[in-house]
Symmetry: C2
């Protein structure tokens, strides 16, 4: 199909499609004439992925680019696709390397207790350390006493995350599942936490009773 | 103490302190002369909170302002502080109201199955619905089969969230705990998920074996 048809079929405006082509988020169509190219079903599918990563996952364009490259790189083992997705969406803020401190020690102790095999540069190690240091400095260090419960929940989540991959036997599908599950999964978990919090809060502190 | 001393004690640069005062993130000091005010320990503590919300929690200034107002409003029941924290950090993107659709039905069924008591306008309801619709349109609808596991993890998290409140008996401390736990807790959970994912991925797909 021509680019105008791709636009109709996908519902994505033409300027956005052209932008994604320029930024390498969408592979070029097959050239059929000097200024004409042919697009297929894989372009429709890719557009859906790009929109979901940007709009539902909230990724910046440069980050979406990186994870899409990881999906397309057939040579990249799946474990590394996880790594790329994790690093990409952990951009900036709190996930930069932390060298030392009480928070990092607590995280490393937790990793030992749970028997987790993780690399020293996993961004989650730094993110968790920064949160623990901030909680401590704010006088809410007692929240760290619940780390085993939070870690247990993280294990339940990670087991489900990995189990979803069993539905595919094609590497490209699995790689896309890794990226989609990691990026949209964060939003899903945040959402379910909001619901469960309201339920638990209503149960413990019914409105109208003494606060 | 004078503002210059507050600057030294807290380590927050003077222009930032002045900005927070202007934006209402920091309450004014006690005026001691025409152009001089006195700041106390509560200002040092509040500066730590502001920095943690902005830098570790990644909140925009306007959002930090809203949750701080909720902490300071003694009349606001705790359940509502949860609500304000949830709504504030769920700003924009995927948490706007969704009117109908398969995703929303799936979320409502899940809420029924778990026996959760939640309001119809909980932002998590819309966020989860949007993620489920996006997964379905991407051909990864099978991820929804693991909703019970994700919901179980969310319950574990929410029980821990609420249990942390038991450490306080002062309303202001509890309200601050609610905000800090909700905002920094999201970052903590994301971080632990990264660690648990790498562990589970290493276990299931050891590098070097066939991918």
């Amino acid at each position: 199909m021509r680019i105008s048809e791709l636009c109709d079929v996908s519902g994505v405006p033409l300027p956005s499609i052209k932008y994604y082509l320029r930024e390498g988020l969408l592979p070029p169509g097959e050239r059929t004439a000097a200024n004409q190219a042919d697009y297929g079903q894989q372009h429709v599918q890719r557009l859906k992925l790009v929109r979901a990563l940007l709009e539902v996952g909230g990724l910046p364009v440069a980050t979406a680019q990186r994870v899409i490259q990881a999906i397309d790189d057939d040579e990249l083992p799946l474990t590394y696709v996880f790594g790329v997705a994790q690093y990409a969406i952990s951009d900036g803020r709190v996930f930069d390397e932390v060298e030392s401190g009480a928070g990092l020690e607590t995280v490393d102790d937790l990793v030992d207790e749970r028997g987790w095999t993780v690399s020293a540069d996993n961004p989650g190690r730094f993110g968790a350390a920064r949160v623990l240091d901030a909680l401590d400095s704010l006088g809410h260090g007692h929240i760290a006493e619940y780390l085993p419960q939070y870690a247990e929940a993280a294990e339940t989540i990670a087991r489900a995350d990995l189990a979803t991959l069993g539905h595919h036997d094609d590497r490209a599908d699995m790689a896309e599942n890794v990226v989609v599950g990691t990026v949209l999964g964060d939003t899903l978990i945040q959402s379910l936490r909001r619901l469960a919090q309201e339920n638990e809060s209503n149960r413990r502190y019914p409105v109208g009773e003494n606060q």
